[in-house]
């Protein structure tokens, strides 16, 4: 099959949204106008100095950016390399997700939209969306898998307290994939007044690029902070967990075109990559189309999307953003995985040696550090994408 974008340009997909052969906008005509408007406007709006100023001010005073880059001394000693933690867990609402929702709500206002819809898995993106909707006085409806509503009760309560309506997705696996289907469907039914805030670097073009750009503040700050601390803005490794891949896209973004920086993406292996209960998309998936873009998708030989499994709702997704599919296939990125058990062990270990309780998603990223063959001179930044408060119910079962 012909590739649409053969240049190794990781930061800029083609005009039609392709990274290599991945991406595009495989959407029904009913979404054409909305997606076309977004495609025509997003870069213009995002480059407008008044937009940049408005978003930057919110990121600083409301989200609490820049987030610290913390030298994890005990972890560094143990691993035998210099490990820095990018503290996205200290963002308002507890994860990196709000970097994107702040950007998109300001953009939605400029597009004249009055209503916001979103999908959520672990609930972090739902909370981040409900938060910015409250901030900007917009109506907010969040679609969430019925199964996730049960296992992420505190985040459901947060969304409701923030004034959002939470709609259960009851079809299929009743998780993130189905919540995304419902959100897209709702968007088709009310396209004119509604903006859909997708929470990850997935979906039809321009979403993967737009979300990556809003999250790229993570790596922009990393470079400045490394320069300040070490006099060199380039680490040897950046490590992040990947479900759809938004925190990884943000953490990698300003290093994508720096070939000396190893980009390590960690997927959820569930009970084990080949256990039949896994969400390690690059290991188990094949080329396919899911939620409007061509990427790597976990599916049957008949092209039906399969139900993934991960202990962390945020990584429980059978696809991966097209940028990551391209990083995987071009070998620019290293894709590893961690099991439920390894992630749990890491969550407890990091809590006890660094005093930071990470989200289950983030815990996957820590699990691979001993496997990277790191040297004492290596400088590794782990994107600590979220805090573990929302996962306490799971952690309590293992105390």
């Amino acid at each position: 099959m012909q590739a649409f974008n053969t240049q190794l340009n990781y930061q800029n997909p083609s005009i039609e949204g392709y990274y290599g052969e991945f991406g595009g906008a495989y959407i029904p005509e009913m979404l054409f106008k909305n997606v076309e408007t977004l495609k025509a406007e997003y870069l213009k709006i995002m480059q407008d100095p008044t937009f940049i100023a408005e978003v930057d001010a919110l990121l600083k005073d409301y989200v609490g950016r820049p987030t610290p880059l913390f030298y994890a001394e005990r972890l560094s000693k143990e691993i035998g390399a210099n490990i820095y933690l990018k503290r996205e867990d200290l963002c308002h609402t507890g994860a990196h997700k709000i970097n994107n929702t702040i950007g998109q709500i300001v953009l939605a206002k400029r597009l004249g939209k009055t209503k916001i819809i979103a999908e959520t898995g672990a609930g972090q993106h739902g909370v981040a969306t409900a938060t910015v909707c409250a901030l900007k006085g917009m109506e907010c409806v969040v679609y969430m898998g019925e199964k996730d509503i049960e296992r992420q009760a505190p985040n459901v309560a947060r969304m409701k307290m923030l004034g959002a309506t939470v709609v259960p997705a009851t079809s299929g696996s009743k998780t993130l994939k189905d919540a995304t289907n419902e959100a897209i469907r709702a968007w088709i039914n009310e396209p004119n007044e509604t903006h859909y805030i997708i929470g990850s670097v997935v979906g039809p073009h321009p979403y993967p690029d737009m979300v990556a750009r809003f999250q790229s503040v993570i790596s922009k700050e990393m470079r400045l902070q490394l320069k300040e601390k070490l006099g060199n803005e380039l680490p040897t490794h950046v490590v992040a967990c990947v479900g759809g891949g938004s925190n990884a896209a943000g953490a990698f973004y300003h290093f994508l075109n720096e070939p000396t920086v190893a980009l390590v993406a960690v997927e959820a292996a569930g009970h084990g990559v080949h256990s039949g209960l896994s969400a390690a998309t690059t290991q188990l998936g094949t080329h396919g189309i899911l939620h409007g873009s061509k990427s790597i998708v976990m599916q049957t030989s008949d092209g039906q999307v399969v139900e993934p499994h991960s202990i962390s709702a945020g990584l429980d997704y059978p696809g991966i953003g097209p940028l990551h599919a391209f990083l995987y296939e071009s070998k620019r990125g290293t894709f590893l995985s961690a099991t439920d058990e390894e992630a749990l062990a890491s969550a407890f270990h990091i809590s006890q040696i660094e005093g930071i309780i990470p989200a289950l998603e983030t815990a996957h990223a820590f699990s691979v550090l001993p496997k990277l063959g790191l040297k004492p001179t290596d400088v590794v930044v782990v994107c600590l994408s979220g805090r573990g408060d929302k996962d306490l119910a799971t952690y309590m079962e293992h105390l």
Partner: protein, 257 residues
């Protein structure tokens, strides 16, 4: 001349296209339903290829798709079921579905097999214009299959003309920006259909989405060549015990026989 072309040459009004999901309600009911639709006055059969994540469809059709998948429907099975359909089915048959299962089957192999069993055309709502023009369109045309694009009230005129020029068989007018199975206000729809009528398009127009009974069928026929009924028929099938009886009653109702 293609079957669809012949049909619209012979009949310029009240063309009825009925959608059914392959493998629903039973794995082997596909052909029986098609025969029953033909016998009771349907002019075109739109056969849905079930997919796990059908974005453009509403709950009713999604639920029938998931049901069909759990019955064991796959593209392989479907083509086996259709391999001898042209012994009994003489009206046009178009396949409707999503790109992902087709890519897994192999796009070229899919088009070739569709042609071989006697399928007339394809409706693939998530195949975008750009990809159609640059990759897939040629394979579709090379296999002699008609390709039917969707247009909506929001489709800009220039794009609409382009979609019309690339379509053959007919053009699928979505009555509003909505997934299938949603009720619509026909006075608004009428304005849109009038506009389409005045555009002098190359293809005949069938209206889909929101057509469910004689009243709604009659209403759109004032402005177009006919209509597509999907969710309402699937609903009827889900309630009836006997596929033949249900189909006869349903089509008699819509056609006013």
């Amino acid at each position: 001349m293609s079957r669809l072309e012949n049909l619209f040459k012979a009949q310029s009004k009240r063309v009825l296209n009925v959608y059914c999901t392959a493998g629903y309600p039973n794995l082997n009911s596909t052909l029986q339903i098609m025969e029953s639709l033909q016998e009771n006055g349907a002019n075109i059969i739109e056969l849905g290829m079930p997919y796990s994540d059908p974005l453009a469809d509403g709950e009713v059709i999604q639920s029938s798709s998931l049901h069909a998948l759990s019955n064991g429907m796959t593209l392989q099975v479907l083509f086996e079921q259709l391999s001898e359909m042209r012994k009994t089915i003489h009206i046009p048959v178009v396949l409707m579905g999503y790109m992902n299962p087709i890519l897994q089957y192999g796009f070229e192999a899919f088009c070739a097999r569709a042609k071989e069993v006697g399928v007339d055309g394809l409706i693939l709502p998530d195949l975008p214009l750009y990809e159609f023009e640059n990759i897939y369109g040629k394979t579709i045309k090379d296999n002699g299959l008609d390709f039917i694009f969707l247009v909506t009230p929001e489709t800009p005129e220039q794009r609409l003309r382009k979609l019309d020029s690339l379509s053959s068989g007919f053009l699928y007018a979505v009555s509003s920006s909505a997934t299938t199975g949603k009720d619509k206000d026909f006075s608004q729809v009428a304005l849109y259909l009038k506009r389409l009528q005045q555009m002098n398009l190359k293809n005949p127009i069938l209206v889909g989405f929101g057509i469910k009974d004689k009243q709604s069928f009659d209403a759109v026929n004032e402005f177009t060549h006919g209509a597509i009924i999907g969710s309402a028929y699937i609903n009827a099938l889900s309630k009836g015990d006997n596929v033949g009886v249900t189909t006869k009653q349903f089509l008699n109702g819509v056609l006013g026989n």
